[in-house]
Subunit: 430 residues, 2 copies
């Protein structure tokens, strides 16, 4: 094995995923050579604190100096696992400009600057691989760009945040309330100290932006995504959903409807029989529909040290083969369409609406009348026995333009029979 068969790489970040990748690269030395015809040498590891002990990673290869990596012409491959937009974006851009191949798991950078980075990689003739950025160990980025390229995709629905799926599973299966389930998720290390990005849907928003862009070959960024989190979901909502035969999941949804893209994250009631309904705990899943391929779903570990590292390793192996075969830079995924993104008001949804109303004759008829007069047609309704003069009314609507639904809701909120709007959640289906 000659000198030319060693590919030298730098790892940016030695946290959970970074140390997993380092360990996996050691374990798979022989496999990688068999698959690519080359060996990988991780020559440098960029860390903030070079003094800190990182088990398994030799001290002498650690550096806190990015320039040292950027200027090292022996380093052909940069594996970026720092997370966050800056300085990761700058490092990725500089690496590509310097002709280095890039593997990254950074959804933040890709959701905001994905198309610029893909174009830069194309112009530089460099690989940019990012299978781990969405749904961890689940192969979804490459299938969207390759195997499904002839499928005429029209819709993606994804459970792409494990923390919130874990919380909703605990609420649904063990009757926990939101706070209790969040505490449990924090205790197990699924939720971070500040869980905002997960529970408000921002993390899922980044992932659905990336998938939307690749599925529809059109630029979609994080700022295009409408987002609603799970903080308002109560155990009552979950209980009523169950009565109607639904489970509640936080979904990233993107659709191509009449040449316009819808892209959003929100909780949704999905039928118990739907494949996504069976995705429990911290598992992720991505459901796709195409005119040619029909329905397909991909399920697996969306996070975690070794699952995420395994996806990064798949990317590394591909880049190594491309280096050996002198074939880097054909990444695909650069947008060649220019679909507009619909404002949320112009999208359609079915709705689950839970109301507390005065227990008076005609209250239901009044509310149903107001909804009907505003183009909100009722598909199912349940009224529960009154307590303390207040009755609980749960309505599932047919598909309605969000704008119309909001108008109707405004009027309902002004009605004298209304005591409280306790829950508003979108429902699967047209």
């Amino acid at each position: 094995m000659g000198e030319r068969n060693v590919i030298k790489a730098a790892l940016l970040g030695a946290g959970t995923v970074g140390s997993g990748v380092y360990a996996l690269a050691e374990m798979l030395k022989d496999e990688m050579f068999q698959k690519t015809g080359a060996s990988l040498e991780i020559k440098k590891v960029l860390v903030r604190n070079t003094k800190k002990d990182r088990p398994g990673i030799p001290k002498e290869i650690m550096t806190d100096n990015w320039q040292e990596i950027l200027e090292d012409e022996e380093i052909q491959l940069v594996i970026e696992l720092m997370g966050g937009v800056e300085p990761a974006r700058t490092y990725i851009v500089q690496a590509l400009e310097a002709g280095k191949q890039v593997v990254t798991a950074n959804k933040d950078v890709l959701a905001e600057h994905g198309q610029e980075i893909l174009s830069l990689a194309e112009n530089s003739g460099c690989d940019i691989q990012f299978e781990a950025a969405v749904a961890g160990a689940i192969p979804i980025i490459r299938p969207l760009k390759q195997s499904l390229a002839g499928s005429m995709l029209t819709e993606i629905m994804g459970i792409v945040n494990g923390t919130t799926n874990y919380i909703l599973t605990k609420m649904s299966e063990e009757g926990m309330d939101y706070k209790e389930a969040l505490a449990k998720a924090t205790e197990l290390g699924y939720a971070e100290a500040d869980p905002t990005a997960d529970v408000e849907g921002y993390d899922a928003g980044r992932k659905i932006a990336i998938m939307s862009s690749l599925a529809f070959n059109s630029k979609v960024t994080f700022s295009d995504v409408y987002m609603e989190g799970i903080t308002k979901i109560t155990s009552d909502d979950i209980r009523y959903a169950k009565e109607f035969g639904y489970v509640i999941k936080l979904l990233g949804v993107t659709k191509l409807v009449d040449g316009k893209i819808e892209v959003k994250v929100h909780p949704m009631l999905i039928p118990e029989q739907h494949p996504l309904a069976t995705v429990r705990d911290s598992f992720n899943a991505v459901f796709v529909h195409g005119e040619a391929c029909d329905d397909a779903m991909f399920m697996g570990r969306g996070a975690g040290k070794m699952p995420t590292a395994s996806a990064v390793m798949g990317d590394i192996i591909i880049v190594m083969r491309n280096i050996v075969h002198d074939n880097c830079g054909w990444n695909g995924g650069v947008a060649y369409k220019n679909y507009p993104v619909k404002p949320i008001e112009e999208t359609r949804s079915r709705y689950f609406l839970r109301l507390q109303v005065a227990d008076k004759p005609g209250a239901l008829a009044n509310i149903a009348g107001v909804l009907g007069n505003n183009d909100v047609s009722i598909a199912q309704v349940v009224q529960k026995r009154a307590r303390d003069g207040v009755a609980e009314l749960v309505v599932i609507t047919d598909s309605v333009l969000e704008r119309h639904f909001n108008d109707a809701l405004m009027i309902v909120k002004g009605m004298s029979v209304l005591r409280e709007v306790s829950g508003i959640i979108r429902v699967y289906g047209d």
Copy 2:
């Protein structure tokens, strides 16, 4: 767009999938150019009868003469959709030897001659793509070779035959017996006039052989696969399985255990909570487990005109890009390991065993004793009320070496209390 940007192809076969691919290639003309920088021209379509009318395909491009295609130097890509081993295998080999790229959906050829064809493609510097050969529209071939390449895969379990999954779903959900469900499948066109290849597990056997080879990078062919079909499954088996919390599915299973490969197709009781249990009707799904990636599952349409055509189209787009970028021949998947395949007797399983026994005191104790003396330990047992002096005994065993189970069964069969062995089905789990 100059002359060099038209890629000329030949389609071998114009049946259901072939006509779907032709139609999709027309529909996606613009998409394909955007994605690859080239246009596709299907210059020839090989059919047995050139007189037969095939809606959508012009008569003048049909030929019944393979040599005409093989010798046409303009044709760079051969899309083989005839099925069956010969003459498809010969055509694929000759096309590769002539330096033509090949896309095929032919599981028969790949399950028997996959490694020879992959090696030939590598030596010829040609592409061989076959995403549609296993599980139709579900991307699984390319993920096994690429995204999951760093996942340390140890096990695959697949529902990879839609016909049998449809039959078992009807038996399970509508209480049909096997014959009735088969008749329904035939009526709907899911089952062929001769359903042997489906119901005996041969079709699934071909697909699991292909996946096993790719997952473990070792040569596994159709003849290595142990196969049992679904013809002996009764509605009683399904009912008892349900009582124990299981559903019955026909699975292709392959495992890498202590450096040896297990590869088999048989019905299996799987827990209702397992993701594979929720895969209904004619849907396919492939469940994989790896030491690094943990569990993952891929679900979708395993057959049908447009779903299969969409997978073929994904392959065509990849080959076109490779032609444009002068980068054909890096297929991966050539076996570099040489794991032996275990004989079925040396594999381990849990078992569901349904017996009719004489309704005499001590019958259960007798049988339990014989099982125990032969290393078959009982995990669960149900004895049903006797009718006409015969009691039904249903046992689920712990994991046992197949050889030991067979020995025990032989002795049980010779016992005077035994009236009939009514069902023997393997059970999920270790």
